[in-house]
C-alpha cells in the first residue's frame, strides 16, 4: 500500500474530515450493503454460505470503516478467519488455516530463495499424494477444493512477487491475501494478483471504492439472474437439438452459461471492495470481443493477467532475441499450452483427478492457434485507420460489427465442442446443421443483429472520431457518488420487489412463473432427469460445466441410493430391465420401504379381486413409488385409506418402480398388472418422459441386450445405430425418435387396458420446483396420450401450488416428493378416483376426455 493511497483514505475520514457529506456517504453505503444483502436473500442468489458472508459484511462494514486504517487489515483477516470457522466448523477450518499457514510460512523462512522454493515443491508434492488418495489424509476431504482455490494459483503469483520483490510483504497482508473472506464459498475463485491486491488497497477515495463494490455486487446479481434464466429456459442438451435452430440455440446458450462465472467473480470482487480492495474488473463485455486476442483480454481478465505475468512476459523477454514478432508468437503458444495444463492442474486440486479429455485438448489447441494468429496480425506495425468522413466511419462500424459476429460465432462454436462429453457426441450434434428452416434463420438474424448493434454502440471509440477521448474524459471526471448510490438503491429494491409474492400477485402469471423459476436454484428439467435416473445407475459423471448439477451432487452423501438399490432393486435379463425385489424391506435415510410378495411397494393383495371392491392399479416412477417417504406416507396408501374411511370399497395397488419410463410401464402392465383383475389403470407421467425413454433405450443398446420389441428394434435400425457406436451418439440419434417411441409406448398401455376391459387414465404429474414459460412439452405429452386412446387424460400441474420447493422436497439434495407433497398427491388421487366412480356411475367417458378442470379443484 503506497503512502499516497493511505493519505487519500485517511484524509477522507480523519476525525477532522467527518463532514456532513462524508457522514451521509457512509450511511448511504451502509444502507446499500444491507439492501444488496436483502436482494441476494430475496432472489436466493448464490449459496446460503455466501449470503451469510454478505450479512456478516453488512454488519462489520461500519466497524471496519470506522477503524483507523492500520487496524483495518488485521480486522479484515479476523473477520475472514472467523467466517471460515463459522462455515467449515472448527476441525476443518483448523486444518485449512493450519495448512495455509505452513505454506505461507515456507515462503518466508530465512533461507535462500531456492531452498524455499524447493521446500514448497516438496510440500506440494506431498499434498498431491494425499489429494490422489494414495495415502489417507488425516484431515476432512471437504477442505481440498477450498485449500486448492486459495493456494493453487495465488501461491505462484505470490512467490513470483516475493522472488522479484515487486510488492510489499507483511504478516497481515499475506493472511488477508490467502484467506480473503469470500473464498470459503468458492472453489472457483478469480486469480487475484498479489501486487495488485496491495497496490489498490485504499488507493482512492474510500466512498468511491465502496460504491464500486456495491455496483459490482449488483452487476454480479444481474448476471446470475440472467444465467439462471438461460439455464432454466434456454439450454438445449445435445440429445434435444432439433435442426440448425436447435444447434444455434445450444451453442449460444451453452456459451452464455459462463455468465455464472462472470457474475460470481463480479460478486466476489465487489465484496472485497467493501473492505477497501480497489481491484480491477474481472470480465469486460466478453460477448462483444472483436478478435480472438480481444476475447482473451476481456474474458476472465485476472487469469489473462496471471498468465501474462508468470508466463508470457518472462517468455517473451527470453525469446525476443529471435525477433519481437517471433518472440510474441512463441510466448503466446507456450502460454496457451500452460493454460491448458493449468486447467488440468486446477481440476486435480478441486476434484482429485486430472482433466484430460479430447474436447478439452482440441479447444485449447484451436483457441491457442487462433489467438496466436491474432497476436501476429496485431504485432505487425500497421497503423490504425482514422475515419475522416461519415462514410469511412460507417465502414469502420460495419467492419467492427462483422468482426464481432465472426468472433462470437467461432467462440460459441468452439465452446460447444469444449462442453461436449466427447468429440463423437459433438459431431453427432453437428449433423443437425443439415436441417435449416425459417426459425433457424430468424433466430440467427435476430441474435447476430442485436450483437452487431451492441458492438457498434459499445465500441464506438473504434469508429467514431473523438469517442475514445470522450470516454476517457468521462472516466477522469470527479466521481458522482449520489448518482451511483441512487442507481444501486433503485436496482436492488427493484430486484428484491420482483421476488416478493405480494408484488408478484399483480403480475402476469407467466412472468410470475418465470420469476419463481429464477428464484429457485433448482435443476432444469434435463438435469433433473439425469439426477433421478442416476439412482440405480450408481455413479454418474457430473458434467464439469454444469454447476447446478454439481452442487446438487456435492450435497448428496457419498453412495446415496446404492444401499437402497442393492436391497430393493432386482435386475432382470429381459427388456424390462429392473423391478422391485419381492418381499423386501429396508429403512433407508429414515424412511421404511417394504415390498409385497409381487414386488409392489404396497401391502399384500391376492391376485383375485374380492367381491364388491373396485381395484385401481397405479403405475409410474419413483415419485409414485414413494422414494424418500415411509410406506405409510406414500400417496397411494393415503388415498386408499381415505376412500375406505368413507365406507367406499377401493383397493389401490401400487405398481410403480423407481426409474421407470413409459416403455417399462407398458411392459409391466402386460407382464404383471393384468393378473390382478384391475378396474382402472392410472399411468403417471412427467415432463421429462421422452428423455427417460431415450436414456433407458441407450442403456439397453449399450449393454448389448437383445431388443425383443420389433417396433423398437426397427427404430434402432432406422437410427443407424451400430454396437460399436459412442453412447452420446446413440443418445442423439435415438432422440430424433423420442416422440414416436413415446406414442408407441402410451398406445401399447392404452391398448392393453382396453383389451382387458380396464379403464385407462393418463395423468401428467409435475416435478417439484420446475416451472416453464412454455407448456409446449406438456401439451405434446397430453396430445400423445389422447392419440393413444386413453379413456381419460388428466393434468394435475397445479397439485403443488401454494407451496415452495423447499417445503416439498425430500431434502436439499433430493427433489423427490416428501410427506407433504405425497399428501397433496393423495388428495388429488382421491378426487380422481371418486370422480371416476361418479363418471362410471353416470356412463363411461369418451376416450381422450380431459377432466383436468374438475379434478383440479
Amino acid at each position: 500500500m503506497s503512502a499516497a493511497s493511505i493519505s487519500k483514505a485517511e484524509a477522507a475520514q480523519s476525525s477532522g474530515n467527518w463532514t456532513k457529506e462524508n457522514l451521509l456517504k457512509f450511511g448511504a453505503v451502509a444502507l446499500q450493503v444491507v439492501l444488496v444483502y436483502v436482494m441476494f436473500k430475496a432472489v436466493r442468489l448464490e449459496s446460503e454460505a455466501f449470503r451469510q458472508i454478505l450479512l456478516t459484511t453488512a454488519v462489520v462494514f461500519p466497524i471496519h470503516h470506522l477503524l483507523p486504517l492500520r487496524f483495518r487489515l488485521p480486522f479484515f483477516v479476523l473477520v475472514s478467519l472467523g467466517t471460515i470457522v463459522s462455515i467449515m466448523g472448527v476441525v476443518s477450518s483448523a486444518w485449512l488455516i493450519g495448512m495455509g499457514l505452513i505454506l505461507i510460512g515456507l515462503c518466508h523462512v530465512p533461507l535462500p530463495i531456492n531452498v524455499r522454493l524447493g521446500s514448497m515443491l516438496l510440500v506440494v508434492a506431498i499434498l498431491a499424494v494425499f489429494r490422489a488418495d494414495w495415502i489417507t489424509a488425516p484431515w476432512p476431504s471437504t477442505i481440498w477444493p477450498i485449500l486448492g482455490a486459495m493456494f493453487m494459483f495465488r501461491m505462484i503469483g505470490y512467490l513470483y512477487d516475493l522472488v522479484h520483490k515487486s510488492a510489499p510483504f507483511s504478516f497481515w497482508r499475506s493472511l488477508a491475501y490467502f484467506f480473503m473472506i469470500p473464498n470459503i464459498c468458492y472453489p472457483l475463485f478469480p486469480v487475484v494478483d498479489y501486487q495488485t491486491y496491495c497496490r489498490t488497497y485504499y488507493n482512492e477515495d474510500p466512498y468511491k471504492i465502496y460504491q464500486t463494490g456495491v455496483k459490482w455486487l449488483i452487476r454480479g446479481a444481474i448476471q446470475l439472474v440472467i444465467y439462471r434464466f438461460i439455464y432454466k429456459f434456454m439450454i438445449v442438451g445435445p440429445a434435444e437439438i432439433e435442426g440448425a435452430s436447435g444447434f444455434f440455440q445450444h451453442m449460444v446458450a451453452t456459451f452464455l452459461l459462463y455468465l455464472q462465472v462472470s457474475g460470481m467473480f463480479h460478486t466476489i470482487i465487489g465484496l472485497l471492495h467493501l473492505f477497501g480492495f480497489n481491484l480491477p474488473e474481472t470480465n469486460h463485455h466478453y460477448v462483444l470481443a472483436s478478435s480472438f486476442t480481444d476475447f482473451w483480454r476481456r474474458i476472465n481478465i485476472y487469469w489473462k493477467d496471471f498468465m501474462m505475468k508468470v508466463f508470457f512476459y518472462p517468455l517473451f523477454f527470453r525469446l525476443r532475441k529471435l525477433g519481437a514478432t517471433q518472440g510474441m508468437i512463441l510466448a503466446t503458444l507456450i502460454a496457451f499450452f500452460a493454460t491448458w495444463l493449468l486447467h488440468a492442474y486446477q481440476w486435480y486440486w478441486l476434484r482429485g483427478a486430472f482433466l484430460f479429455t479430447v474436447p478439452d485438448i482440441i479447444f485449447w489447441l484451436v483457441l491457442g492457434v487462433l489467438v496466436t494468429v491474432s497476436v501476429w496480425n496485431e504485432s505487425r506495425s500497421k497503423k490504425k485507420i482514422v475515419p475522416k468522413t461519415t462514410a469511412e466511419s460507417a465502414k469502420l462500424a460495419a467492419i467492427l460489427a462483422g468482426k464481432t459476429v465472426a468472433t462470437f460465432m467461432t467462440i460459441t462454436f468452439l465452446w460447444s465442442l469444449w462442453t461436449a462429453d466427447s468429440v463423437a457426441e459433438w459431431q453427432a450434434t453437428l449433423l443437425q446443421l443439415r436441417r435449416w428452416d425459417g426459425e433457424a434463420v430468424m433466430k440467427i438474424v435476430l441474435v447476430l443483429g442485436v450483437l452487431s448493434a451492441a458492438a457498434i454502440v459499445v465500441g464506438r471509440d473504434q469508429w467514431m472520431v473523438g469517442a475514445a477521448a470522450k470516454q476517457r474524459a468521462a472516466k477522469m471526471k470527479p466521481f458522482n457518488f449520489w448518482q451511483g448510490a441512487g442507481t444501486n438503491v433503485a436496482t436492488s429494491i427493484f430486484m428484491t420487489a420482483m421476488a416478493v409474492s405480494q408484488v408478484q400477485s399483480y403480475m402476469n402469471p407467466t412472468l410470475v412463473a418465470v420469476l419463481d423459476a429464477i428464484e429457485h436454484p433448482s435443476l432444469n428439467a434435463r438435469d433433473a432427469a439425469v439426477l433421478q435416473r442416476g439412482y440405480y445407475e450408481g455413479l454418474i459423471q457430473v458434467d464439469r460445466f454444469n454447476a447446478e448439477l454439481q452442487a446438487m451432487y456435492n450435497k448428496r452423501p457419498k453412495g446415496y441410493f446404492v444401499e437402497w438399490s442393492a436391497a430393493m432393486i432386482a435386475k432382470r435379463d429381459d427388456f424390462l430391465g429392473v423391478e422391485l425385489t419381492p418381499s423386501a424391506t429396508i429403512t433407508y435415510e429414515g424412511a421404511k420401504y417394504t415390498t409385497n410378495e409381487w414386488g409392489m411397494r404396497d401391502k399384500s393383495y391376492p391376485k383375485e379381486k374380492p367381491a364388491g371392491v373396485r381395484r385401481v392399479g397405479l403405475i409410474g416412477s419413483s415419485h409414485i413409488m414413494g422414494w424418500g417417504v415411509s410406506d405409510d406416507q406414500v400417496c397411494e396408501v393415503l388415498a386408499e385409506d381415505r376412500l375406505n374411511a368413507e365406507g367406499l370399497h377401493y383397493e389401490l395397488l401400487n405398481f410403480a418402480v423407481a426409474g421407470y419410463n413409459s416403455i417399462q410401464m407398458a411392459l409391466r402392465l402386460e407382464q404383471k398388472m393384468l393378473d390382478f383383475q384391475l378396474d382402472d389403470v392410472y399411468l403417471f407421467c412427467h415432463r421429462t418422459e421422452k428423455q427417460w425413454i431415450i436414456t433407458y433405450l441407450v442403456e439397453q443398446v449399450m449393454s448389448g441386450k437383445e431388443i425383443t420389441e420389433p417396433f423398437i428394434r426397427e427404430i434402432v435400425e432406422k437410427a443407424g445405430i451400430t454396437p460399436d457406436m459412442n453412447e452420446a451418439v446413440v443418445k442423439i440419434r435415438l432422440s430424433a425418435y423420442g416422440t414416436e417411441l413415446l406414442k408407441w409406448s402410451l398406445k401399447r398401455s392404452a391398448d392393453a387396458c382396453r383389451a382387458n376391459g380396464m379403464r385407462s387414465v393418463w395423468i401428467f404429474t409435475p416435478d417439484i420446483g420446475r416451472v416453464s414459460t412454455s407448456t409446449r412439452d406438456i401439451d405434446e405429452l397430453k396430445e400423445c396420450a389422447k392419440e393413444a386412446g386413453y379413456d381419460q387424460v388428466l393434468d394435475i400441474s397445479d397439485v403443488f401450488k401454494g407451496h415452495t420447493e423447499k417445503e416439498l422436497m425430500v431434502s436439499e439434495y433430493d427433489d423427490h416428493s416428501n410427506a407433504l407433497a405425497h399428501s397433496l398427491l393423495a388428495d388429488r388421487i382421491y378426487q380422481i378416483v371418486k370422480s371416476n366412480g361418479a363418471t362410471i356411475a353416470g356412463g363411461a367417458a369418451a376416450p381422450g376426455e380431459t377432466a383436468a378442470a374438475t379434478i383440479a379443484q
Binding site: 486476442t293 501474462m308 517473451f316 504485432s379 506495425s381 474524459a473
Partner: protein, 89 residues
Amino acid sequence: MSESTQDIQATVKEYLLEAFLPGEDPDSLAEDTPLISGGILDSISTVKLVTFLEEKYGVEFQAHEISSDNLETLADIANTIQTKRAAKG
C-alpha cells in the same frame, strides 16, 4: 545529455499518440491518464512500448517490471526511465 521527466513524458506521449491513438486530441492524454487499466495499452502494445523505451533511452526492462507500478501513466513511465537511467549511472 539526459532529458528531464517532462521531456520523457512528451516523447512517450508523442509515441503513444502516433502508435496507438492516431487522430486523437493530444490534450486527451494527460500525465495521469491510466494507460493499462484504461485500455490504451494491452499486452501487445505494452511490449511495443517497452521495446521503444529500451531503444530510445538505452535502458533494459525485466519481465517483472512490466506492471502497472511502472507503466500505468505517463508520469509512471517517465519516473521508471529516470530511475533506470540513474541506476545505470
